[in-house]
């Protein structure tokens, strides 16, 4: 059985990168990952690139070819992966499968989005494409409004409060302030979040992840090859994906994301662990309610107890299960196609023990969780420090 490892990781700073273009950012991130791995570019056998909406954001499609071209890596195969905000996660999983299958020994996985070249209104419209155009966007539903419908049900069924949601933002900003690549380098107070004005009730401005430019990349390799070449690595023990209905109206429940639950169940099984073994998780907090749903659906807390767990500090950097030590989408920023790969970059940095001020102590197993749209796609991947047995 071929085992997959991560041998290098890199990312651009996330933020409003006005000075940097789409192609510059993906090249920067990929070069950082390659240099980190110590490999020369000609060792790369294939590229998988996550990108959600470059057609709407910069008028450019055919991203796979563009990335290979910009990296000077022609003629190797280069494929774009798209699953809305889970595009990066799908690219990561595609690279994982390519190595796992034995077809390739070493592949590069990237994710990129350039969102600030269009107006905020146009960016919202582009992001809306992650939902159901015909039955949601057509009627004036925005992405925050879809998550607001989820939040309302969570509040009604479990008593989750707007303050508890706001506490997710406070925590993730605090973590982001310790991440030099994060978009937000400052903390926010509970009062600031609560007073930040509604976007779609009960979701406020500071419950939302920002519009962000950025790129991230990791280099995946077979364990055998990594050991033969004497490279440092972390193990990639599982990468599972699941699907759900694209529209919220067709869901059985609005208080869980079934794609997350299914991907998590399969990932734990494949990695031979339970949720109890996970030392930290990078979860998809596109809105604060999404983190509450995620920590329940991943099994860290019982359904309905995600809000209270956040309030008790159980998800803080020094808590029972640190969630989003990088700052998450909320604090680090959310360049949609890059997010799923940036989560793997954080997992790499944490498990290599080089996350500096945001280092999770004694971290041996990390989980990443990337969601597309309002939950129609979810990818859960599990990483282990080299040599961890569990």
């Amino acid at each position: 059985m071929i085992e997959v490892v991560v041998v290098g990781a890199g990312m651009t700073k996330f933020g409003e990168n006005w000075e940097s273009s789409f192609r510059q950012m993906i090249a920067d991130a990929a070069i950082k990952a390659l240099v980190d791995s110590g490999l020369a570019g000609e060792k790369i056998e294939a590229i998988y690139g996550g990108c959600m909406a470059s057609g709407r954001f910069i008028g450019q499609e055919h991203i796979g070819a563009l990335i290979a071209d910009q990296l000077g890596l022609n003629p190797i195969p280069s494929t774009r992966c798209e699953a809305a905000c889970a595009s990066g996660g799908v690219a990561l999983r595609s690279g994982y499968l390519a190595v796992k299958s034995g077809e390739h020994d070493i592949v590069a996985v990237g994710g990129v989005e350039k969102m600030t070249d269009v107006s905020t209104e146009d960016a919202s419209f582009a992001l809306g494409g992650a939902g159901d155009q015909e039955t949601e966007l057509f009627h004036g539903a925005t992405f925050p409004s879809l998550y607001a419908l989820l939040a309302r049900r969570h509040m009604i069924e479990y008593g989750t409060t707007e303050e508890q949601m706001a506490m997710v933002a406070v925590k993730n900003h605090k973590n982001a302030a310790n991440n030099p690549n994060a978009q937000f380098q400052s903390e926010v107070t509970l009062e600031e979040v609560m007073n930040s004005g509604y976007v779609a009730e009960p979701i406020k401005v500071l419950d939302c992840s920002p519009v962000t430019d950025g790129a991230a990349a990791v280099i995946l390799c077979s364990k055998e090859k990594a050991e033969a070449l004497g490279m440092k690595y972390i193990e990639m023990a599982a990468s599972e994906q699941a699907s759900d209905t694209i529209s919220l109206a067709a869901r059985k429940s609005l208080t869980e994301l079934r794609a997350t639950m299914e991907a998590a169940r399969k990932a734990y099984k494949k990695a031979g662990i339970t949720q109890e073994d996970v030392d930290f998780a990078e979860v998809h907090d596109c809105f604060t309610i999404a983190e509450i749903l995620a920590i329940e659906d991943l099994g860290f807390f019982k359904k309905g107890e995600g809000g209270i767990a956040t309030e008790k500090g159980l998800t803080a950097l020094n808590g029972k299960i640190p969630i989003n030590p990088s700052g998450g989408l909320k604090g680090k920023g959310h360049p949609v196609g890059a997010t799923g790969v940036a989560q793997a970059v954080e997992a790499f940095n944490q498990l290599m023990g080089r996350a500096e001020k945001r280092q999770v102590k004694n971290a041996e197993i990390g989980l990443t969780h990337n969601v597309g749209g309002s939950g129609a796609t979810a990818i859960v991947s599990i990483f282990k420090k080299a040599g961890v047995k569990k």
């Binding site: 919202s124 925050p144 919220l248 109206a249």
Partner: protein, 133 residues
């Protein structure tokens, strides 16, 4: 977004009178109609059916920041409505007193303009719902 005339025309039964489908095998109703019953797949037997025109609010939100084409209408209400046959539909809630827009509130079908095509000026109409006593 610019929506073509054929697309608007194609959607008229769905958007003007809530045409959906139901599966004769499992009895589940779907809105919009589907080609395949996700429960029964090949064993399913889908028939066209207009949805009931009444239901109740399952979840709702007051939208303060609207997308392209809707920003002049803010704030407005978006709700997930559970129809009497249990099918759910996402729609705007209009012509209702704000304090009556609550989870569980009874609503009925209305018919309204839903924005204007930005390029050719075609006016889109579709279902919306309003709270009834």
């Amino acid at each position: 977004m610019t929506v073509s005339a054929p697309m608007n025309w194609r959607r008229i039964p769905e958007r003007y009178r809530l045409k959906g489908s139901y599966c004769e095998t499992c009895g589940k109703a779907f809105f919009p109609g589907r080609v395949v019953c996700p429960n029964c797949r090949r064993k399913g037997k889908l028939k066209e059916q207009d949805m009931p025109r009444a239901g109740k609010i399952f979840s709702y939100t007051k939208v303060h920041v609207g997308p392209t084409g809707f920003s002049h209408e803010t704030p407005y209400f978006i709700a997930l409505i559970e129809l009497e046959n249990k099918a759910k539909v996402l729609s705007q809630i209009i012509d209702s007193e704000e304090e009556k827009i609550q989870v569980g509130a009874k609503v009925e079908l209305a018919f309204r303009k839903v924005g204007k095509d930005d390029k050719y000026g075609a006016i889109n109409y579709a279902y919306k719902f309003k709270v009834i006593e």
